[in-house]
Amino acid sequence: MTRDDFESVVHEHQGMVYSIAFHFFHNPAIAEEVAQEVFLKLFEKRRAVEAGAHCIAWLRRTTTHRCIDTLRRSNFRHEVQMEDLPEVSVAATESDPLLQEGIRRLIASLPDKPRAVMVLRYGQDMDPEDIGKTLQMPVRTVWSHLNRATALIREKAARYRMEMEHEPDGTRPSRGIASEGSASGLR
Amino acid sequence: MRKLMVAVWMMIAGTCLAQQIDLKALDQFAAKAKSKTEINMDESMVKSAASFLNPEKGDEAAVKKSVNGLKGFFLRSYEFDNSGIFKLEDLKPILDQIKGPNWTSFLRNQEDGEQTEIWFHRTNGQIDGMLLVAAEPGELTVINAVGLTRLEDLSALGEFGKLADQSQKKAPPKP
């Protein structure tokens, strides 16, 4: 990959790399830092990485590993056990984006591997086989993480919706603990 | 001019090599010996060896003092199973080399089938070489030390007394 190729890659895939990091940490500052590091590493290794599919796979793999490493190195890791995931927080307004925000926060609270699996599956639309190769884990483990995490998120989302439907006075209750600790404590 | 250069070269060569004796004539005894010691050390080897001598270690310190100026050391020592393997006449090729005017005899003794000779080479009256021949039935030793100035230097590892004194006293009168 030439230097010009590298520049093109940065412009073309900055969104993908940033997205993975953002959804992993739910923190834009950390996401940018990690994303920059990934591209700098690509720059160092550009002669060994071919543009195209090889490069995309490389970027996904490196970004995910960098996210996991950064999370593990951070002094404050506010991971929550799957069973202890907080309820989706309900704030004042009505729209589903709040549910989505809650889901994002929930995902950013998962342990590192399930978190990475969910981000790659639903954020990057990757097959479990490809996720397994990226994270160097067996496919059945990928499925296991997917199933557990999805089930829990589904359960909490369903509870949230139920509460929405049964609120007698039309207002939305403020309830639950916002899953704010996922990444805000990271330096 | 060319003849002059050849003459000068021969003088230099003669001066350099005069103290060194060709010991090839003794090679024939090496194969017949039951035990042998052969040492050929030119000036560079002597210097190299001297640099490894430990000045604080007994014997090595004594030798280190003695090798100053030594330009070569050539030794042949053979022991034979029986006394008939070599004869004193076999030493002639060695002794023929010390007939020049610069060689003077310090000691010559022949008795009961044993022969001991010590010769010094002098240049401008100064000792700068030595030949020792010690032959007896069943044993032959020839030692040639080039650059040697004092006999007692060679006895660094042995007792030595009057022989050293006598070597200093027997310098021939200058022509």
Partner: protein, 102 residues
């Protein structure tokens, strides 16, 4: 559920100026990768030179020790022979003395 998940985790745009910031950082350590290679090569050359030097020194040491041992042997034999000569001289002198007294 899957729709919600995909919607929640949909691709985000990188912040404005992200690409420029990345490219700016790549301008500085242009030879970063190269310097590693050069450093490694230089280290290897130094190691080789050092290694050759060490081997040569070891050889010199071994040869010097060998020469030293030869010299020590030479001096021991010579010292021994000179002692023999001395003893023989003493014997000769003794005999000459006895003859003169007779």
């Amino acid at each position: 559920m899957e729709r919600d998940l995909r919607e929640a985790l949909r691709r985000r745009e990188a912040p404005p100026g992200f690409a420029e910031r990345v490219l700016a950082r790549t301008q500085q350590p242009e030879t970063r990768g190269h310097s590693w290679v050069w450093l490694a090569a230089a280290a290897l050359v130094l190691l080789m030179i050092g290694g050759i030097g060490v081997v040569q020194e070891q050889r010199r040491q071994a040869e010097g020790e060998r020469a030293k041992q030869e010299l020590m042997v030479a001096f021991r034999i010579t010292g021994s022979k000179l002692r023999d000569v001395q003893e023989r001289l003493a014997t000769i002198q003794q005999r000459a003395l006895q003859r003169s007294e007779q």
